[in-house]
């Protein structure tokens, strides 16, 4: 059929959308995996075999749990595995675990993340909570001791980088050390001079596998932004709120608080802001909603971090999970005006 014989031309009539960017779930998930690669390399560099072990265990058990759940629910297995979302969940969960965690705990966390936080709600697209973070919260509450047992990054005692010689920071995470010191009334243990800032930026500190290297995570985040897998709203609002909150806190009393760049570079903030709080399924759909979501995450994170009596030195995972819970309300409050609908008086 040619276009000339118009009286016989059949037009395709379909509902919207009529223009499609070509993006698909596997495509986006693959982009996320690419974006996580620098952080993965940094994790392997800093934590060595433990990083490889935990990533392998988490990814394998997430994919396994996904296949088993789909089979038990009588839903297509191959399609669910082919969209790579279980691989992303496994990788993100591994990034949220301390390097010394036993493998069987990582398996439990993966099964919880996929089985309960994702498939029990209906699978990809229906889960109200980020599966990887739910898995982390499950492990953190269940095995608090193991989940907060940090060992020093597996670095040579001293290493040089661009003429700078640095010591490997041992034991606790910087956030944990600062919180303990403030609780005990001791002077702050970390001075944020140029060398320390650079060290934190590169990732030479105690922490979970994937959260230490802010630089690698920023690279990944920039890639996601460039590929338009995420919008700028959540990361910018989240990081901006944290910076503003900690800035005010610091300006009020510089002797008993850490400056904003400390709060931006330590803990899971970069990982959370670029990779977890931007999860399409568990975040609001409108741009206005994303702004609210990012600000809420920032306020909650800083509240958990600096409340003096609080048990947890780090609040990114709980902040994002709490905001995930109010996403339906945010969506309802920020629903765009329909074309032709009256503005509210």
């Amino acid at each position: 059929m040619t276009a000339s014989d118009s009286h016989t031309t059949l037009y395709t009539v379909s509902s919207s959308p009529h223009a499609h960017s070509g993006a698909s779930v596997p495509c986006i998930m693959f982009d996320v995996l690419v974006a996580l690669t620098p952080a993965l390399l940094a994790a392997v560099y800093f934590f060595g075999f433990d990083a490889v072990r935990l990533v392998a265990v988490c990814v394998a058990s997430c994919v396994g749990a996904e296949a088993l759940c789909r089979k038990a629910m009588g839903r297509p297995v191959k399609a669910a595995l082919a969209d790579l979302s279980a691989v992303v969940t496994g990788l993100l969960l591994a990034f949220n675990l301390p390097p010394s965690l036993p493998s069987w705990m990582a398996v439990l966390g993966s099964v919880f993340a996929i089985g309960i936080a994702k498939q029990a709600f209906g699978g990809l697209g229906y889960n109200p909570f980020n599966p990887a973070l739910a898995g982390r919260a499950f492990l953190l509450i269940s095995f608090t001791g193991r989940m907060t047992a940090w060992h020093a990054a597996r670095l040579p005692e001293r290493w040089s980088f661009g003429g700078l010689t640095m010591d490997a920071l041992t034991s606790a995470t910087p956030l944990g050390m600062v919180k303990d010191a403030i609780k005990a009334g001791d002077p702050l243990p970390v001075a944020m001079d140029g060398a320390t800032t650079l060290r934190f930026l590169l990732g030479d500190m105690g922490g979970c596998l994937g959260e230490v290297s802010a630089l690698a995570l920023l690279l990944g985040g920039a890639y996601l932004l460039a590929r338009r897998c995420i919008s700028w709203h959540v990361p910018v609002c989240y990081l901006g709120t944290v910076a503003l909150f900690s800035g005010i806190h610091w300006a009020a009393n510089p002797a008993a608080a850490m400056p904003p760049h400390f709060h931006l570079l330590t803990g899971g903030l970069m990982l959370g802001a670029w990779f977890m709080a931007t999860d399409m399924v568990t975040t609001p759909v409108t741009n206005k909603g994303l702004v609210v979501f990012g600000i809420g995450c920032g306020v909650l994170t800083m509240t958990i971090r600096i409340v003096a009596g609080g048990a947890y030195p780090e609040g990114v995972s709980f902040a994002i999970l709490l905001m995930n819970a109010v996403v339906p309300l945010i969506n309802r409050a920020t629903r765009p005006r329909l074309f032709g609908q009256r503005r509210k008086a």
Binding site: A72, L108, I116, F121, Y126, R332
Partner: protein
Amino acid sequence: MKMVSEFAKGIWKENPIFRLVLGMCPALAVTTSLENALGMGMAATFVLVCSNVVVAALRKVIPAKVRIPCFIVVIATFVTVVDLMMNGFLPELHAALGLFIPLIVVNCVILGRAEAFASKNTVALSVADGLGMGLGFTLGLAILGVFREVLGAGSITLWGALQWQFAENDTMILFILAPGGFIALGSLLALMNHAQSALARRSGGTFQPPPHLDCRHCVLCRWGETKG
């Protein structure tokens, strides 16, 4: 014969926890250990049987318009009896169950049986119904209690003397905390529905989950879609 069937239905076919999904407050709150679960189950069974007897005996006297307050007064009387008896003879269990003993007054299983069964049936049948429902409730609590205590504490302890230790450390503390209760109950319900639907398929029929547990009646996915 009817006595037996009224008794037996509470154990499984209309099990208050797993089939009727009633009495969720104690089911989630006191099932942190098998001992607490059994204590709670026994106390509720006692109140259930006694209140069923009194309500059935008075069913022709109680005016329909004020029946709920009347049931509550009857139930509260027996709950007070249990509360004082337990405080006197089992002070440790009383301390462990705490507020949840007085809360048996508003246990939906008990009020539900008074309203749905005892107020329409004879005393003898009401005793059978109360016993069956009470034991079914106890059974449900015990299953939850074993599940949570084994996973959360790694051991089973009964009255301090009988003790089985399964794991020394690295137990999942989450399961003896509140969220663990919800997760355990949800997992058990899902497991049972799955098993029953598989059984039904094998025998050529279809399995209908209790209507309030049906996915179609859940509004979680539709939050925010409708106004108000």
